[in-house]
Amino acid sequence: MVSELINANPVIYEKKERRVRSVPSAAADEYAVEPIDQQEIFDILSDPEHPYSLEELKVITEDAIEVDDGRGYVRVTFTPTVEHCSMATVIGLCLRVKLLRSLPSRYKVDIRVAPGSHATEAAVNKQLNDKERVAAALENPGLVDMVDECLSPSYE
């Protein structure tokens, strides 16, 4: 487990005000399929109960989520808090696992670090999008514990 904080004094940003999601009127068919949108993915990923959420650290923002519900495609672009953050792969893995556990299986997910935000950007991206490496990582009990801990406030 991580014994020391890698970035002990992160810059904390204010949360963006939520736009209100349109609620279908009572007259509308309550069984109608509601498409998954950018805000829903964002809510899955940014847990409001976490002391410093990924949103407050500006690791992810709503704008950095591209979603196409029709095609079943999501791309999340996250920004590690420091350029040499050795936790970038773990954060990316957490985002991937969270989406894996939350989204319908038809979804294709790409996770990447924001261009220019990390010293070894291409290597991190390649690793996060190699499903064989992700599968092997998720069979590693130590790493799974770390991911579960990272996701624990909202994952039950």
Partner: protein, 361 residues
């Protein structure tokens, strides 16, 4: 008269409880009245043996090989005689199973790789076995009497994990492809199992998230996931995370046994898949099948309507099958035997059996 090909879905096989990574047809089946059979392996840590029922033609699970591998079983391969099945696992071992009257017994476990073993294959005579894995190495094993396996060589050269190994069908060559974006060709110099890399098919320092240009080099620009030889062995096709298939050729089969003719890039098939291409397999009758993370299967054939301006072969799309599975397709394999089937394995935990039929019009 143009032949119109149609892909018919024969059956969906359920049983695995996690993604199916790979499958392998038993090469000794489908002929002389022996029913077709294949093995599949999965993230559920098991291997399943499937066989076609001769009377109903439907496919049934005949055996589940479990309680041996403790992690994902990534790859499986039959010996040429079909008597032994090798299975490679993330648990760092390769198991050898013997078929004893329909029961499968684990007769050996090959240890040596530091961590995940990702691929295993036999040489054409069944006297050698090759494995590769995350530790960047390719291991060559000799098959000895009494189910003994001796590691005769460890090939170092790839700079990242090695995704797949394949023996050349007629030459004493091993091909390996890797996360380092290259394919390496290894040859035995005839001197007591002294294997060396004789050629690397690659390009320099272009990475996935840069836009690849088809003109910027002949090698792949991201992970090379799989490769497959044509029947005569003078061509090989590779598939990659860079969304392309590449065809390479050599005059090697015309060389004396101890000679080597370099392989060269013949053509690149791009624009057909829009997510990682995980699997490619060349049929005996020259049809290339590819399966990818876009859930689609594609078929290609050599374009015989050459206009005379192109030097070298070109290939054309024969058929596309969108939504062949509900999730990523990890493996496509043509069957042996008189009736040729295609089997596909996917993240949705299923295997599908397909038949490519021709309708003349």
């Amino acid at each position: 008269m143009e032949l119109v090909k149609e892909l018919r879905e024969i059956q969906t096989l359920q049983g695995h409880t996690d993604r199916v990574w790979s499958l392998a047809w038993n090469p000794a089946t489908g002929v002389a009245g022996i029913p077709l059979s294949f093995a599949s392996c999965s993230g559920d840590k098991t291997v399943r043996i499937w066989e076609q029922n001769p009377s109903t033609s439907s496919w049934d699970c005949k055996a589940v090989l479990d309680e041996t591998h403790t992690r994902t079983v990534r790859s499986c391969a039959w010996s040429p005689s079909g008597k032994l099945l090798a299975t490679a696992s993330f648990d760092a071992t390769t198991a050898i199973w013997e078929n004893v009257g329909g029961d499968y017994e684990c007769v050996a476990s090959l240890e040596g790789h530091e961590n995940e073993v990702k691929s295993v294959c036999w040489n054409p005579s069944g006297s050698m076995l090759t494995t590769c894995g995350r530790d960047k190495s390719v291991w060559v094993w000799e098959v000895l009497p009494g189910n003994e396996f001796d590691c005769v060589s460890v090939l170092q050269g790839h700079t990242q994990d090695v995704k797949m190994v394949q023996w050349h069908p007629t030459r004493n060559l091993i091909f390996s492809c890797s996360y380092d974006n290259t394919v390496k060709i290894w040859a035995d110099d005839g001197d007591d199992d002294d294997w060396a890399c004789v050629q690397t098919l690659g390009r320099s320092h272009l990475v996935r998230w840069q836009v690849p240009s088809p003109m910027s080099g002949s090698g792949h620009s991201s992970t090379v996931w799989a490769l497959s030889f044509n029947a005569s062995g003078d061509k090989v096709v590779t598939c990659s995370d860079d969304l392309t298939l590449k065809i390479w050729g050599s005059d090697d089969t015309k060389m004396p046994a101890d000679g080597f003719a370099p392989w060269r890039h013949l053509c690149t098939l791009s624009g057909y898949h829009d997510r990682t291409i995980f699997s490619v397999h060349w049929s005996r009758d020259s049809i290339i099948a590819s399966g990818a993370a876009d859930d689609a299967i594609r078929f290609f054939v050599e374009n015989d309507e050459q206009d005379g301006l192109v030097d070298g072969p070109s290939y054309k799309l024969l058929l596309r099958k969108e939504n062949a599975h509900d999730m990523d397709i990890n493996s496509v394999q043509w069957s042996p035997g008189e009736d040729q089937f295609l089997a596909s394995a996917a993240d949705d935990g299923t295997i599908k059996i397909w038949e490519l039929t021709s309708d003349s019009c």
